[in-house]
């Protein structure tokens, strides 16, 4: 079990004006599964490579259990990285791929054989050892790549977009596998992804990185309920941002006076609420009358574009609730106070 501490980690590539990663600080508790989330080019893979020792940071430190590892060679860091495109060695059998790390450590061949077969059982592919990687499906290759990483019992496991290349049904299978193996072996795990859904389903905690800077580091639900700023909220699918002022538990803006939950930020700011928290019909407090601008049927959900005065509101509702709604209709909506959040 290893506590990972990333301190003011910065990378400026030669010839670049702005840093690829700007003073990233993160504390990752022992055995935790953390996601580095951000769009492509935001610096998340750079971060992983610096932790793995494949890239030299410009400044800052990476500490495992309070010991700096920056001077250690990649092969001595106890960090294993699993790449997005698996990168199984094509000229080796699957078993040789899995046993690669042990062979490099000059482990006894019979011991390698035993542990490889254990590992293959663990990733639920006991019979593929003699095959070539090219004979496996994408999902199977992913599991072999994971087995190849876990067999060396790393202190820290780094995963690069672990679910992105998988079909929807394989994603959940893989998610469960990663989570169960990670918990069982207690390996501190960091993964990077550009897909907020992937981060949310897999991680204990999520660090959102935008333009090389960390915006928020929190449990997944906080990004929906309490985003630190508009960019963060937008990254997680937030659409509603209404300027105004928060005074004594009330938000005063173009929608009139809305009641906020306890503990809201005071002063000028933006009111935000999730599209899925907009309720159709009357409720306790914050009742409004809205005009339907558009109805977009999405299968399991319906997206409503609403207007209250000049203000646009995006809502996502159960299709049954809005059957028969059409543009131009005037409908009652309400915004439950506990779902409103003020960004200062």
């Amino acid at each position: 079990m290893t506590h990972v501490s990333i301190q003011e980690l910065t990378k400026v590539y030669p010839g670049a004006d702005t840093p690829a990663l700007d003073r990233l600080s993160l504390e990752i508790a022992s055995g935790e599964l953390t996601a580095l989330l951000g769009p492509s080019g935001c610096g998340k893979t750079t971060t992983m490579k610096m932790i793995a020792g494949l890239l030299e940071p410009t400044s800052g430190d990476v500490r495992f259990d309070d010991r700096s590892i920056l001077r250690d060679k990649p092969e001595h860091r106890g960090v294993v990285m699993v790449f997005q495109n698996y990168l199984l060695f094509p000229y080796m059998s699957v078993a040789d791929n899995v046993g690669f790390g042990l062979k490099m450590r000059k482990t006894d061949p019979t011991e390698i054989k035993r542990r490889v077969s254990e590992m293959l059982d663990l990733v639920k592919l006991p019979d593929v050892g003699d095959r070539r990687p090219s004979a496996l499906s994408g999902g199977q290759q992913q599991r072999i790549a994971l087995a190849r990483a876990l067999i060396v019992q790393p202190e820290v496991l780094l995963l690069d977009e672990p679910l992105s290349n998988l079909d929807a049904h394989l994603r959940f299978e893989m998610r469960d596998l990663i989570r169960s193996l990670q918990q069982e072996m207690g390996i501190t795990t960091i993964f990077v992804t550009h897909d907020q859904e992937e981060a949310v389903v897999l991680a204990d905690r999520v660090a959102l990185i935008l333009d090389g800077q960390m915006k928020q580091y929190d449990r997944a639900d906080a990004f929906y309920k309490r985003p630190v700023d508009e960019a963060t909220a937008r990254f997680f699918g937030g659409h509603n941002f209404i300027p105004g002022k928060s005074v004594g538990g009330t938000f005063d803006g173009p929608l009139g006076q809305l009641t906020l939950a306890d503990g809201a930020v005071e002063g000028a700011g933006k009111l935000t609420f999730r599209p899925e928290n907009v309720r159709v019909g009357q409720g306790d407090g914050n009742n409004l009358s809205a005009r339907v601008a558009d109805v977009i049927y999405l299968g399991t959900q319906t997206r409503l574009k609403l207007r209250v005065g000049e203000t646009e509101i995006d809502a996502v509702v159960n299709p049954n609730e809005v059957e028969g709604f059409k543009p131009g209709d005037i409908v009652p909506i309400h915004l439950p106070p506990q779902t409103l959040w003020v960004i200062s």
């Binding site: 494949l54 990168l87 060695f89 490099m104």
Partner: protein
């Protein structure tokens, strides 16, 4: 028109060149090597030319020399080319210039290179005179024999000079297409730099090295001009031996020249076959 027919028609021009010129030449050579030349009344094929070749001691020395030239120059070229490619794939200031210089002599003909070697390394060459000038040796003639020498050092130098960029360009393209991620994976799994090279990069670029080195080996084994210019008189490389027989005043030596040419072709094919089988097994184990 069916696809099959289209493919055959499209291939026809290229195939006819190969079939007529290459196989045609080979067939005529084969017939003559069997002493079969109906034009001058030789209509009874026999193995006399081959018997003459195989009973002559010089043939065996020539074979050893040719093998030594090809093997040594291919091996040295491969090692230097891989080393150069490893350096050239890194980003550094002036890489474009170095890269250009590295590939420059791809355009220089072998013959020109050979004359360069002659000027530089012979016992009356630039290096010999320089060494005498700074009193490393007494007279230029004391300079170690590197041209017309029994170990074919001059020939090998010339081939290495010419083939390193050739193999290097292929290997470099190969490395650049692979990227560095496989090596990163290996490093993070605990492989040292050397292990990463030996167990990951080398097997991955091996197909490129293999095809390039087969071309170099076959070329150097069958090439005539460099051993003729820079080689010793005895033993001479196999192609030189073949050419000598061909231009012999005694017309009866011609079938022997043809037999030698056929033997060179067969030996190349056999050695390349053994090389491919053996090296693939070794590198990927």
């Amino acid at each position: 028109m069916s696809d099959r027919l289209k493919i055959i028609l499209l291939l026809l021009p290229a195939m006819s060149v190969i079939v007529l010129l290459f196989f045609g030449g080979l067939l005529i050579g084969l017939m003559r090597s069997f002493n079969y030349m109906p034009v001058i009344g030789l209509t009874e094929p026999n193995l006399q030319a081959y018997i003459n070749v195989f009973t002559d001691e010089e043939f065996y020395w020539s074979f050893l020399l040719s093998f030594h030239i090809s093997f040594t120059s291919t091996l040295i070229s491969c090692i230097l080319a891989v080393g150069a490619a490893l350096l050239l794939r890194r980003a550094f200031i002036g890489r474009a210039v170095i890269n250009f210089l590295f590939q420059l002599n791809l355009t220089v003909p072998h013959l020109v290179g050979a004359i360069g070697i002659l000027y530089l390394f012979s016992q009356s060459g630039v290096f010999a005179r320089l060494a005498a000038e700074v009193d490393l040796i007494q007279r230029p003639a004391d300079f170690p024999a590197m041209v017309f020498d029994p170990f074919a050092i001059g020939i090998i130098l010339q081939y290495v000079w010419k083939e390193v960029p050739f193999i290097g360009v292929i290997v470099l393209a190969n490395m650049q297409a692979l990227g560095e991620n496989y090596e990163s994976v290996a490093r993070s799994l605990g492989a040292s730099k050397w292990q990463t090279f030996r167990h990951v990069l080398l097997p991955l670029i091996f197909p490129g090295i293999l095809s390039a080195s087969v071309i170099v080996f076959a070329f150097t084994f069958g090439a005539y001009e460099i051993p003729a210019l820079l080689g010793a008189n005895y033993p001479a490389a196999l192609p030189v031996l073949a050419y000598r027989s061909y231009t012999d005043v005694d017309l009866a030596a011609r079938p022997e020249a043809m037999a030698l040419a056929i033997i060179i072709a067969i030996l190349s094919a056999v050695m390349i076959f053994i090389y491919i089988r053996y090296s693939r097994k070794r590198v990927r184990s």
